[in-house]
Amino acid sequence: MRIRECGDSMLLVEFESVIDPLVNARAIALASRLREQAAHGVRDVAPGYSTVGVHFDPLQTDLGALVIAIQEAADSVDQPDTAAASVPIEIPVTYGGDGGPDLEAVAVGAGCSPAEVIERHAARIYRVYMLGFVPGFAYMGKVDASIATPRHRVPRERVPAGSVGIAGGQTGVYPVVSPGGWQLIGRTSTAMFDANRARPSLLAPGDLVRFVPVPGHTP
């Protein structure tokens, strides 16, 4: 583990630079621990794939004490409980059609039929590694290597809310209409983010997700 200064108001805690469930679980556990501790001056704590960002007010924070607190917290989460989030959250998806304009292209790249792409995408249980981009946007992985497809070189200017996409080995759902470069294979009517809910984001770091195909037209 290494702690780097990012300017005068953020520390970045780095674990091994890999996309790995265990490393990710450590980052998430450390972020939770630091959020619980709510050290004086700390404004926000956010985990990444293998990192934790600790945002603080430089005028309210004893930097040396914060670094020590992070080191101690990191030691105590050395063996995170990865079984904690054991029940996958199910997201119903209407694959293909208007909501999945790239399904055919992904199938061509995979050398299989669109039905097989759907089967492979829905077969796996995915891990939410981190959220970013816009509120509630979860970066999940990994998809079956055969359907992993690079982003569009030129992103779409307008991707509808609920669009389910693939980017490389990752999969995710666009919570709001936004620009985006992911390969769109379907759409869900599930609200990924609603600020008025008790838990605004459907997904949190470390959650498990399963996509459930629903027949019919794009919602």
Binding site: M10, L12, G48, P58, V134, P135, S178, A195, P205
Partner: protein, 316 residues
């Protein structure tokens, strides 16, 4: 205190509700937003007797015209604009009383890019996740998560007793569209040629027209990387100077995303971010390398400047 409103007659180029920002939810991807020039935002609040957390209106380059449907106290800070209230010029950096029905009209911007309209009691749009700050991309905060439009009624409170009038020396605005911003190195300065940061010192970067509240794209000499590829996406903060593969840096500003995968050569220090917030496309930035200690010392000096006005003497 009775309810009132700011009735937007003309919205200006980009007028948004902003408060300190929406901290605490970056773990689920909620961007912080908040003022581009936090110093002037806070000063506007001080001048009208608000807490630093109260919401103000951030005005960008072309200001609004509005009718004040409240008896209250207002102060305008940040960029220097020609502003009239019912045809009479109002000063920048000083509070003034307004009566219900008076019309505030922004004219030409003289210096800087963003002004803040502070109003006694603050702007009272509904908080979202604890903040009124507008984030345009995620359509959150302010009024429906968007810039103000003609016909909007921005809720405020009418004040029964007028608040004491105050004035202050505001931010020293960039002159001639040029500003020096101090930078601390890292965290990925090792991705660049050893002299890259030294090489950028004293070199001018131009703020591209493709800049907005999320970030400024900077045109200038490319920052040559010694490593290709991208990082595994990691949390980022305001002021980060990230460098995509093409070498054209992006300075992350108030509406930045919570995470990014480009290496960051350095960060503009907190004390100088308000100056960055006063830049417009076509302006120039010169970076100067400094230490963390310099950054903290500069921030304490800025804070003292604000605290001086927090308990400032009344001028009338």
């Amino acid at each position: 205190m009775t309810l009132g409103a700011l009735e937007i007659v003309k919205p200006g180029l980009l007028t948004t509700v902003q408060d300190r920002g929406r901290f605490g939810n970056q773990a689920v991807g909620v961007p912080v937003a908040g003022p581009m020039d936090a110093f002037s935002h806070r000063l506007a609040n001080h001048l009208v007797g608000n807490d630093a957390d109260a919401a103000t209106l951030e005005v960008t380059l072309i200001g609004p015209e509005l009718v004040i449907d409240a008896d209250t106290t207002i102060a305008i800070t940040g960029a220097s604009f020609e502003v009239v209230c019912d045809g009479h010029p109002v000063p920048m950096g000083a509070s003034f009383s307004v009566q219900r029905g008076q019309r505030l009209k922004f004219g030409r911007v003289v210096q800087g890019a963003r002004a803040y309209i502070g109003i006694a009691g603050g702007v009272l749009t509904p908080p979202v996740l604890g903040s009124r700050a507008t984030h345009l991309v995620s359509r959150m905060g302010g009024i429906e998560g968007r810039a103000l439009l003609a016909g909007d009624r921005v809720p405020v409170r009418s004040q029964e007793a007028p608040r004491p009038l105050r004035k202050a020396v505001g931010l020293t605005l960039p002159t001639g569209g040029r500003v020096r911003l101090r930078v601390v190195a890292g965290p990925q300065d090792h991705w660049f040629h050893a002299d890259a940061l030294k090489a950028v010192s004293g070199v001018s970067f131009r703020v591209s027209p493709r800049s907005n509240r999320m970030g400024y794209r900077l045109e200038g000499p490319p920052l040559v990387r010694v490593r290709d590829g991208e990082l595994i996406s990691e949390p980022v903060g305001m002021g980060a100077i990230q460098v995509p593969g093409a070498g054209e840096p992006i300075l992350l500003m108030a509406d930045r995303q919570t995470a990014g995968g480009y290496p960051k050569i350095g960060h503009v220090i907190s004390a100088d971010l308000p100056l960055a917030g006063q830049l417009a496309p076509g302006d120039f930035i010169e970076f100067i390398l400094c230490t963390r200690q310099d950054a903290v010392t500069a921030l304490i000096a800025r804070e003292r400047q604000l605290l001086r006005y927090a308990d400032l003497k009344d001028v009338s």
